[in-house]
């Protein structure tokens, strides 16, 4: 019982911190919107060879980008907790580390889901017509993607000694994962070796799954995307869990 309340407490903290920081909320929404409007308009004449315009095409990709940044950021934020001592307070409480990890993961995912949901509600900007079915099938997908990515962030945090490594993660993990994911162009256009790398990037499957659920069209079958996302999440939870339990 106390394990469940521990998960709840840690979840609550993540959400409270997010909601309280207005600047963070606004900037985390502004960035994707700039991408869609400015970048999307700049390339609006680019024919991606599917039945949708370029801005609509990149919309699910940009939602995935927002998920990618926020989720990994939430996961990695455990470094800050470590650096500023707060983690000690949780670690010394009579709750298991697995609960702490789950609380952190669910908390981080909740934050990304809130953010992605707002973006999806704004999809009329690019002319996407929402309906109840779209929302119903998109939300669980967003949750699945963000849980895997938050757990990835937590796993990365186990390898970092201090906050200095954070910029490294942005440059060497988040950006390549985003650019290779086909969020901005169909990966079919890539040379074979790059496309193969794209196919081992889990974000590719997130983008494809969201494209399927929001636009109703995708290059990869939804079953494959779902399978990969699910396996990715399980693997990340296990890796994150092992690292977290071993630390110290």
């Amino acid at each position: 019982m106390s394990e469940i309340s521990a998960i709840y407490v840690i979840w609550l903290r993540e959400v409270k911190r997010y909601v309280r920081e207005k600047a963070r909320v606004i900037s985390s929404l502004a960035m994707p919107i700039f991408w869609i409007i400015i970048f999307g308009s700049g390339f609006s004449r680019f024919n991606i060879g599917m039945n949708v315009g370029y801005r609509e095409f990149i919309f699910p990709g940009i939602v995935t980008m927002a998920l990618l940044f926020t989720s990994i950021g939430s996961g990695v934020s455990v470094i800050w907790d470590r650096e500023f001592g707060f983690l000690k307070e949780i670690l010394v409480a009579p709750v298991s580390r697995t609960s702490i990890l789950f609380g952190k993961m669910i908390g981080g995912s909740t934050v990304s889901v809130i953010q992605a949901s707002i973006l999806i509600l704004l999809s009329f900007i690019v002319g996407i017509k929402l309906n109840f079915l779209i929302i119903l099938r998109t939300l669980p997908l967003i949750l699945l993607i963000s849980m895997g990515l938050t757990a990835l962030g937590l796993s990365i945090a186990n390898f970092l000694e201090g906050h200095e490594g954070f910029q490294l993660i942005v440059n060497f993990i988040i950006m390549p994962m985003f650019l290779l994911s086909g969020a901005l162009f169909p990966i079919e256009g890539l040379p074979a070796w790059l496309r193969n790398i794209s196919l081992i990037d889990p974000v590719t499957y997130g983008v494809e799954a969201l494209r399927w659920s929001i636009l109703g069209t995708s290059n990869l079958p939804i079953g494959l995307s779902l399978g990969v996302l699910f396996i990715f999440m399980i693997c990340m939870v296990i890796i994150g869990g092992i690292g977290f339990n071993r630390k110290k």
């Binding site: 019982m1 106390s2 309340s5 521990a6 709840y8 407490v9 609550l12 903290r13 409270k16 911190r17 309280r20 920081e21 500023f84 001592g85 707060f86 983690l87 000690k88 307070e89 949780i90 670690l91 010394v92 409480a93 009579p94 709750v95 110290k248």
Partner: protein
């Protein structure tokens, strides 16, 4: 149940060959306020981290409230409270929220939680500031909130790691008063680490002096001071002939320090004139001579041959502290 709140059995921890804590055996009685006194890097925090189950011993073990720190870590955690050396509050939450979170982590129900939170807030006089964000608190307020937090779940043992480190003299005095009040009003065992002599002297029932991971002396402050014996005479001099004072060995122990001589003697009052004569005869210019009863500083010197310097902070530690300070001020 045994009469001891804490018992250690050859408690040892090494970090890649460096022995931070070296076969420590101590027993701390229930209700005692026990101080671990030693310079930075002596192994105080490592020992505390092991006792509160954050760190596994390399060898040996310990019992806290009768529970083994290795096999019964969860029971140990439930029965202890800790105030860490570095702040461990969430400064984006309010004081009350920090306490609430803590109480929930320790499985305290809603009504009981509210009652206890108000109780501990009152103890540290933070009732009025409880609903402000912690980032607006001063250093002393944060420390008080942390003490309150360490008490919310009614621990039997409270660990305080350098409770007044980095606080100004007034705030230190204040924190000391809280600790004294805690001891008076609650049947709680307190283990405190410090490198401040005055703090250990004022607060502790018993003190264990720790150096290089070993407990080198243990006893009440008075017992420890009596071991040094008699009086301390301090002679300040810049003379190059300072070595000649070695001839005074017949009086007692002679030590050469950075700015003069320290003598451990009996009946110091009667020896001062002799020292003055000796200095004059040997043409040593003496700036001042003073006589005092031994302090814990002299005790430490007696056992280790060194003085605990308060600014004993290495470069990396200094960087880290500056960084923490900056982060606390900014953002």
């Amino acid at each position: 149940m045994s009469e001891f709140a804490i018992e250690t059995f050859d408690l040892t921890r090494n970090f890649n060959g460096f022995l931070a804590v070296d076969h420590v055996n101590i027993k701390i009685k229930k209700g005692e306020l026990f101080g671990l006194l030693g310079p930075n890097g002596a192994g105080k925090t490592t020992m505390l981290n092991m006792l509160c189950t954050l760190l596994k011993p390399s060898a040996g073990t310990a019992k806290v409230n009768g529970f083994d720190i290795i096999d019964q870590a969860s029971d140990v955690r439930k029965s202890i409270g800790i105030v860490f050396q570095d702040p461990s509050l969430d400064d984006r939450l309010t004081g009350r929220e920090n306490l609430e979170m803590h109480a929930m982590l320790y499985g305290i129900g809603k009504e009981e939680r509210e009652r206890r939170i108000n109780e501990v807030l009152k103890l540290v006089e933070l009732e009025e500031k409880a609903d402000l964000l912690v980032r607006t608190y001063s250093g002393g307020m944060k420390r008080r909130l942390e003490i309150a937090r360490g008490l919310v779940h009614y621990p039997n043992v409270l660990f305080l790691d350098e409770p007044t480190l980095g606080l100004d003299p007034q705030t230190r005095e204040h924190i000391w008063e809280y600790i004294e009040e805690l001891k008076k009003k609650h049947a709680i065992t307190i283990i405190l680490t410090t490198h401040y002599m005055d703090e250990a002297d004022r607060l502790c029932d018993r003190i264990g002096i720790i150096d290089h991971g070993k407990i080198i002396a243990i006893g009440t402050p008075n017992e420890l001071k009596n071991k040094v014996g008699g009086d301390v005479i301090v002679i300040e001099t810049k003379s190059k002939n300072v070595n000649k004072f070695e001839k005074l060995k017949f009086m007692g122990e002679v030590r050469i320090t950075n700015n003069g001589i320290l003598l451990n003697v009996k009946n110091g009052e009667r020896l001062i004139t002799k020292i003055v004569d000796f200095a004059r005869k040997n043409r040593i210019k003496v700036d001042s001579i003073s006589l005092r009863k031994p302090s814990l500083n002299d005790v430490f010197l007696h056992y280790t041959g060194r003085v605990i310097r308060e600014e004993e902070v290495d470069g990396k530690e200094l960087m880290r502290q500056r960084f923490l300070m900056r982060m606390r001020r900014g953002t």
